[in-house]
Each structure stands twice: as structure tokens, then as C-alpha cells.
Amino acid sequence: MSAAYLVLPRLRHGAFAVWRRNVLVWRKLMVPSLLFNLGEPFLYLLGLGYGLGLFIGDTMQMPYLTFLASGILASSAMNTASFEAMYSVYTRMVPQRTYDAILATPLEVQDVLAGEALWAATKCVISGAGILLVAALLGGVHGWPALWVIPVLFVVGVAFACLGLIMSSMANGYDYFSYYMTLVVTPMFVLSGVFYPVSALPGVLQSIVQVLPLYHAVELVRPLVAGRVPDQIGLHLSVLVLYAVPAFLIAVRFARRRLVV
């Protein structure tokens, strides 16, 4: 790895131009996109939060609806960012040749990918705000400080977007992403404390889960939704950043190999 890749990514104007492009596309497809982003979490909250919550009662000193809503907030950020950074980015990178056109302007590969990561995180914030609203209407959110969830979801979105960007930069087709979804995203969704406390898992599994980014996302979001201050904020944020930065640099390296030859 040459030294150029070790320099921390710098946000330039070009990244925001890519971000703006995606915002404009999203605005055209806003309604179906929002329905897709909100529909599933809404059903989970309604069905599982109310239905299952009746049997479970309080979990970690909070109503199950609150427990579940916070897990869904974090995991939907993971899903939204992963989906955007893989399927949508790959479409623009390979079949649609959008990046070929962009790379004839002053932008470079790192600007394009930075813009994509920013956009994926923005999408997480949009859908997260919707889920938060739904959860609040169902009575699962405890106080205004829960709004801190919004910036947290942005960071969570950036981290998962950067991981997804590695996949799209390496992929030779859409099938590739099924592996990542099945082998990485789904296990994290099931194991990282979205539906039940991680303490319920066997000890070995618990230690593994604690290095996964979704676990740290849940640890930040859950107390905020319940109206408390999270423990070890610095640690959780650092883990997310430690996923995001190297993943971004690796993604840029692979994407350059594909686009700048």
C-alpha cells in the first residue's frame, strides 16, 4: 500500500456534488423509497413490539417496545446503508457508467465514494427519523433527548456504507452482494442485541458480538431512545470510526483499480 492511501480521506466539494446528485434522484422516487424504508420497521414494531411485548414485558428496565424500537433503529441503518452502498453504488459504477462520466470532471475516485458514503448515511437519517416518529407515536420513545439518535445513525450509516463500498468495488455482479447480506448483515442482525439482550447469548458468542459494529450502534441508540445517557460513548463511536476509515481506504483502492486504469 503506497503512502497516498494512508492519508485520511478529505472531504472536498466534489463529494457534496455526488451527494446532491443522489438527493435529487431520491426526491423523484421519494414516496416508494420512504415506504420501503418505513414499511418493514413499522410492521416489526407493531407486530413484535406489541404482540411479543405482551408476553415479554420489560426488558433491561424498559418496555419491550422501546427495546425493540431502538434495535430496529440501529439495524435499519445497517440495512439501508449496506443496500445503498452495494446495489445502488454498483449500478452507478458498472452498468450505468455514471462514475466514468464523473471521473472526466475534476472529481477523483475518493470524492465519488465519499459522496456515496455521505448519501447512504443521509438516507439512514431520513428513514431513522421516520422510524423514531413511528416509535414515538406508539409510545416507545422516552423524551426529547432521543433526538440524539439522529446524529448517531449518521455515524452508523457511514460505517456500514464504507463496508458496503468495499463489496461494490470488488463485485463482479449483483450475486456477490447476497453473500455479504447472508454471511455478514443477517448474522449481525440476529446476534447484535436487536431483539434480545446480548447477555442472553453464550459467553464465547458474546465476546464475538462485541467486536461487531451493529452491537456498538445498538449500545448507543438504545439508552437514547429510553431517555438515558449511553455508557462509554467514546468507545462505541471509536469502534464505528475504526470500521469506517480503513474500509473507506480499501474501497477507494479497489474502485481505483476498476475505474482508473
Partner: protein
């Protein structure tokens, strides 16, 4: 530097020396030199696979050279890719318009990448759409445009940053004659505005109509270079007889002093004065022939050989 007339000679817009590009072991550009004078139209002519597109990608800083030096606007490439691309417009060989947007939106989004202020952008979009005769299509989706319209929009897009150098990779390949002529007229307009044009083509007619100077490339090397007229004069006799039909043309021409070549089912007869040969061919009613001045195609075929390339 000042020449004897007291004016500074214009520095070339692009200058390449010993430029090489390798993909693994395969060398696709093999040490080429060229300099493009400011305000001229410069052509790179060559068959498919000659290294034309790769050369353009290097000029844009989209492909790091494997050897040699390359300067654009006097700045070394690829180190100054960003700065150089801000002053270049590109019309790529394959359309890559943004399918998620309309005609006008495509120009707006592209202008954003150059960081152009919105008010300036709106003005430019209106005048560029008029320039390529797409004003009435501003709100049309890209996916419903014809091939010719897409190419015209791509040309408009390449001008959004008011570039000093416009790079066109086979700008009229696959277009119908009306659109080709319209695009040629627009490119002459651009040259008249003082822009420098760099284009690749394998259409001789296009090179002859547009280019002040050109290089003929084949298999990664420059075979020949110069002003278009000079190239023709240097390599082929001024008059050509192209003979088809099943008459006995070869026998009729055997007594004449010119040069005979066969390509497929066509006989080419090159000469300084075709009068005698024409008289002989006209004596056989089964011979079908055309008498024309020599053109770039004759030079090209002579330089790159007669066999078909894929």
C-alpha cells in the same frame, strides 16, 4: 521564449513524449510523441485497437501512463488531473449520460461536479441546449432520446465548464448522415471560438473535414503525422480510379504507368494523370469505375495495410 517576429510562440495544449501504456504485459501505447497547438483541431486516426482511446484517457488523467511524459496546459499528468480536467470537456465513445435525469438536469448535475455557481449554470444550460438544437427537449427523460440526440447532449455536456480543450472519442460513430453533418458544423463552430479540439476517428472523411493536423496510429505506434493535405500529397498520387464490375480492367490498365492495388473486389489505380487510363476503361462497357481525387482513406490503407481489423 520570444521568436524573431517578437511574439511568444503558443505553448502546445497537449504534449506527449515517449508516452507508453502497458496493461500487464501488453503494451497498447508504445512510445508516442505528439504536440497539439492551441486553437487547432488535432486528429488521432487509426483502426480499432490502435491505442486511441487509451491515449485520450491518459490525457484526461484517467489512466496513469506507464512511461514517458505527458503535459496538458503545461502541467504534468497525472499529478495535475484535477486542475487539468477542470479545463477539459470530454465526449466519450460510449454514452454515459445519467439515466435518472432529464436532458437539462443532466447538464445541471454535470455542472455541479465542476463546482459552477447555479446562476451561471442556468445560463449555460439554455445556450448549450440551443447550440445542439435540443432546447425543446429540456425536460425529456434521457431514456427516450434517440442516439443522435444523446450524442448531441453529450457534446453539450462536455462544454458545460467552458473548456479550453474538447476531447472527442469517435464523435460521430454510428450516427446518421444528418446528425454527422450537424455535429461537424458544431465542432467547426467550437474551433472558430478558439477552442482546441482533440478527436479520434476511423472515418477518413471526418478527419479530412475537421482536422488541421493528425497522427495515424496503429498497434500503439504513430505511423505518420502532419497536416492533412500534406499527408495525402506525400503518400499517394493525386488521382484515383476505383474500379468495380466484371470487365477486364486489369488487362486494360496493365499498359498504364500508375500503381495498381486490389482490396476485396475493388481495384484501385493511383496515378498523377488519369486521362489515358480513363479512356481505356471507357472502351469496355462492362467496367464500372469512379474517378476521384486521392483522400485520406488511401493514405490510411497504404499505411496500415489492407487486411481487415477487429
Amino acid at each position: 521564449m520570444v521568436d524573431e517576429a517578437g511574439s511568444a510562440p503558443a505553448a502546445p495544449v497537449v504534449s506527449a513524449r515517449g508516452l507508453i501504456k502497458r496493461f500487464d504485459a501488453r503494451e497498447v501505447v508504445r512510445g508516442i510523441d505528439f504536440a497539439i497547438p492551441a486553437g487547432s483541431c488535432f486528429g488521432i486516426l487509426g483502426p480499432n485497437g490502435a491505442g486511441k482511446t487509451t491515449t485520450l484517457r491518459m490525457v484526461l488523467g484517467q489512466s496513469p501512463p506507464s512511461g514517458g511524459t505527458l503535459e496538458v496546459f503545461g502541467l504534468p499528468i497525472p499529478e495535475n488531473g484535477r486542475a487539468v480536467r477542470a479545463r477539459i470537456g470530454l465526449v466519450p465513445q460510449m454514452d454515459n449520460l445519467d439515466p435518472d435525469f432529464t436532458v437539462a438536469e443532466n447538464l445541471r448535475i454535470y455542472g455541479n461536479y465542476f463546482g459552477l455557481p447555479d446562476a451561471m449554470l442556468e445560463q449555460r444550460i439554455a445556450s448549450l441546449l440551443a447550440f445542439v438544437e435540443l432546447s425543446d427537449r429540456a425536460d425529456t427523460k434521457i431514456t427516450t432520446l434517440s442516439g443522435g440526440m444523446r450524442r448531441r447532449l453529450t457534446i453539450a455536456r462536455s462544454l458545460i465548464n467552458d473548456p479550453e480543450l474538447v476531447v472527442l472519442d469517435e464523435p460521430t460513430t454510428g450516427l446518421d448522415p444528418q446528425v454527422r453533418h450537424m455535429i461537424w458544423a458544431r465542432l467547426r463552430d467550437l474551433r472558430a471560438q478558439g477552442k482546441t479540439l482533440l478527436l479520434t476517428t476511423h472515418y477518413m472523411e471526418e478527419a479530412e473535414r475537421l482536422c488541421d493536423q493528425l497522427v495515424v496510429m496503429d498497434e500503439g505506434r504513430v505511423l505518420e503525422r502532419g497536416a492533412t493535405r500534406d499527408l495525402i500529397r506525400r503518400h499517394v498520387e493525386p488521382e484515383v480510379l476505383e474500379v468495380r464490375g466484371d470487365g477486364d480492367a486489369r488487362r486494360l490498365l496493365s499498359g498504364c504507368s500508375g500503381r495498381l492495388e486490389t482490396v476485396g473486389d475493388t481495384l484501385y489505380y493511383y496515378t498523377d494523370n488519369a486521362r489515358a487510363a480513363v479512356a481505356r476503361l471507357e472502351s469496355d462497357p462492362h467496367v464500372v469505375f469512379q474517378h476521384r481525387p486521392a483522400n485520406l482513406e488511401d493514405v490510411f490503407l497504404k499505411l496500415t495495410g489492407r487486411e481487415l481489423r477487429e
